[in-house]
Amino acid sequence: MQRSPATAPTIARLIEAFHRLPGIGQKTAQRLAYHVLRAPRAEAEALADALIEVKDSTRLCGVCQNITDADPCALCLDPQRSDSTICVVEEPLDVAAIERAGVHRGRYHVLHGAISPMDGVGPEDLKVRELLARLGDATVEEVILATNPNLEGEATAGYLFRVIAAMGVRITRIAHGLPVGADVEYADERTLRAAMTHRVEFDGRGSDD
């Protein structure tokens, strides 16, 4: 980034720091930096403290590998959740998304990525060994593979299937097809194929029920 002489070096450094964050362009970075500059000192200190704290006090849960500030995390300790089902996801944000939907009452396992053969990312770069260690426990009856329905997610699910199949645990894959609110006319061939293949008996109630 070219530094303008009209911008003080300290502000330019802050703009640069914001600009490095995902989804933040140059203009937004400038707006954020000037917002921090104009805000009361207490607000800036709270932001700085929150940034340092998140780096200092978070770690990976020793069980599900999700990011947590207490090990084991609250989801792994929750006695209301079933130990018999583990939902395997790529990223911590996927856990948050599934929790928002409130559709899974079992445990989770976060892989921290997906196999990407062309980028040289293999199973050894993910939390697969930790997952296998959990499956040794006879309480686990089902593993739900909830990796993304794209090439990397399918490669990861395919690999996990081959590993887990030998362990005698039931393996399921999240369904994929048309998202709510989509138009059939714009759907691609593979999505329609999946939607038709995995169609379900209709009992007159909405598909959310």
């Binding site: 062309m118 040289g120 499956l135 090439l151 490669a155 690999y159 590993v163 030998a166």
Partner: protein, 275 residues
Amino acid sequence: MPRIRPIRTEAIVLRQRPLGDADRICVLFSPTRGRIEAVAKGVRKPLSKLTGHVEPLSRGVFGLAHGRSLEVVTDAQTLDSWPPLHEDMDRMTEALVMVELVDRSTDMDVSSGPLYLLLRHSLDALAATSSPRAVRWWFILRFLDQQGYRPELDSCVRCRSEVEPDGNGFSAADGGVVCPTCHGAGVGQRLSSAVFRLLRYMRRSSCESTAQVRVGAEASVELERHLRLSLEQALDGRLRSSGFAEALARAETIGRSAASSAAKRVQEEQEHAAV
């Protein structure tokens, strides 16, 4: 500045990588323009109309407009999504090797008609075959031909003498078969007569005929080695996607070993509880 009109081109999607919160950069391979990097905006959102049409290992027609630094995908229509390549791990693995070879060997704005046709034909064959490995072997031989690394199979690459099927070696560094005399002097790795014949057969046969050939485990390992070394010469490096094939091959063993250690642990716990 004159306004540049958007273009439409047929292309195979080679790969993607995330960009920002909702976009992806797609690497397309077009017969007329070679490798194209284009932004597909909003495709990581569930209701994007483009998402399924820009998935790797699919062929389509793409509308491209000039953006500030990269081109932007304005619309896309899938022509072939090769479902078996996405649903079957063995086919997917072989397809990824082919796609990586094309990705690493093509430049932007270079017409690549023959390589495009080779990739398209091979992906078609891969989706239909029951012998994915053989389709990849056939593809690699032709890929090497097109890249100017055609393996010499008729005469010794060292002394130029004509070769018979038996007693030869293969030198990827020298670019082909080595006669028994030169091989005896330490040049190249052993080339069995079965693999020598198979290489010659694949050279003159169609992809479909190659896929019909039954290849034993030993010959298959040997052929893989010669092709891998030849590709490493052509690419000046190792194929990244071949690591996935190796990981898949080890997957069942890892699973069995994890299952047996778990069973042992449970038995130990039961014995401990009994005591």
